[in-house]
Amino acid sequence: MAMMFPSFGEKKQKMQVYTIEECQNCHDKVKRPFQQGDYVYKEAGECQKCHGKKMITMVFGEEPQGKQQQAKSEQKAPPQSKQ
């Protein structure tokens, strides 16, 4: 039934926000969920691998996994020509 009446416009889903911590020495990157107080270029403690200084280099939002895969498959599908 739902397929018979497709909804117009996108249904927006909340983005999941992640923080990327990067070691300034070995450039090892760690992706973790965003925590309040995180900001880009904030010092993020010590690297567990080389004991170098870590820094937050990115904070970004990603669409939830399911929706992302759906968007990718939609992008890959070639446009159907109507004849």
Partner: protein
């Protein structure tokens, strides 16, 4: 069976003709009313959505102030009153000196909002105050959008004017898109997360990493570094608070007051993409890449023209929604590419010993330096 049986009956034929032609006659006489009624319903639904978005933004603002800023009294009434606050732009019948007038009014507006927020939440930190200021801006814009749409809806309803309602119905999708984008910004503002528009300050911040900065204008910082035997001056709004800084004044202060005459000015900003363009795509061009009311762009263009400094622009494409919502991965990942393009531009367009000014344009919420 019935039709076959009564095929020859003239009375039945008349009734059948009447029934067949009635809808056409009704539509001919009342078609416009019917259309008006359909449009009224459609606009009414959109207006309801707009109202719920406006209420949500107001509620989010009140909740944030109560939870995070701990005000002494209930901020609800004061916020309601504040949402009706307006700014009258200067008269432009005689355009001479209009930029100074606009700048005066805009800075007055900023000061007024800051004072009001300080009174609302005296214990708030600078980051929280800026978050409240930005959320007030969102709530005020949504309030205004709702009231203007409601105004035209009621006029259309009162006068039963199809043409007023049709115009309203035609622009409703754009208005709802803008309202959706604004409400999407609230989450990022509350948590001080970088927004898409922050890509300019993010690139500038990366260039000025580990270099001492100094304040050159209100909420704007300057750093000096070297790259390939060139002196590079970098200007951006002071993060991680949610501000766009005063870049026009900062460029003016560097060139006019400090006597630094750069051989090139490179500006990095977010730019609205056209439908079909990819988010995070980078484009290069000429001119001052900066939005807003136009005062900052005027100041930078004036300095550049006076001193014959070439202006280069690097923009990262994104939609309006993406520009004011939490920064998307594609935009964040374009930061490294943009830094490489800035470096290449410095190498290609300047010579050893030259001075270059790099300006990161945008809201630096959640992006330090």
């Amino acid at each position: 069976m019935l039709l076959q049986a009564s095929a020859g009956d003239p009375f039945f034929n008349s009734v059948l003709n009447f029934v067949l032609y009635l809808p056409f006659v009704l539509f001919f006489l009342y078609g416009q009313r019917l259309q008006t009624w359909v449009i009224l319903n459609s606009v009414s639904r959109s207006l309801g959505k707009l109202e719920s978005l406006r209420n949500r933004s107001k509620k989010e603002l009140v909740d944030y102030v109560v939870k995070e800023c701990k005000p002494a009294s209930d901020p609800g009434d004061r916020i309601n009153q504040f949402l009706e606050y307006f700014t009258i732009m200067p008269n432009s019948l005689d355009p001479r000196g209009i930029v100074n007038k606009i700048e005066h009014v805009v800075s007055l507006q900023e000061e007024r909002i800051a004072t009001e927020v300080k009174a609302l939440a005296p214990a708030a930190s600078s980051i929280q105050s800026k978050a409240v200021e930005n959320m007030v801006e969102v709530a005020t814009t949504l309030n205004m959008l709702y009231k203007v749409v409601r105004h035209y809806y009621l006029i259309g309803k009162k006068t039963a004017s199809l043409y007023v309602l049709m115009q309203l119905q035609m622009i409703m999708p754009s208005i709802l898109q803008e309202a959706d984008a604004l409400i999407g910004a609230v989450d990022a503002l509350k948590l001080s997360q970088p927004i898409g528009d922050g890509i300019g300050p993010m690139v500038a911040g990366r260039i000025m990493l580990n270099i001492p900065t100094k304040t050159i204008a209100k909420e704007t910082v300057l750093a000096e570094t070297t790259y390939m035997s060139r002196t590079v001056y970098v200007i951006k709004a002071e993060g991680p608070i949610g501000t766009v800084g005063h870049l026009g004044k900062a460029v003016g202060a560097l060139v006019e007051d400090m006597g630094v005459k750069p051989n090139a000015i490179i500006m990095i900003d977010a730019a609205l993409k056209l439908e079909g363009e990819k988010t995070g795509e980078i484009a290069e061009g000429i001119g001052a890449a900066i939005g807003g009311v136009g005062v900052e762009r005027f100041r930078i263009e004036e300095v550049a023209t006076k001193h014959q400094i070439p202006l280069y622009a690097i923009v990262v494409k994104q939609s309006l929604n993406e520009a004011i919502s939490v920064m998307k991965k594609e935009i964040a990942e374009s930061g490294d590419k943009a830094v490489a393009i800035v470096q290449r531009a410095i190498e290609d367009r300047t010579h050893e010993g030259d001075k270059v000014l790099v300006v990161g344009v945008g809201n630096t919420l959640g992006v330090a330096q």
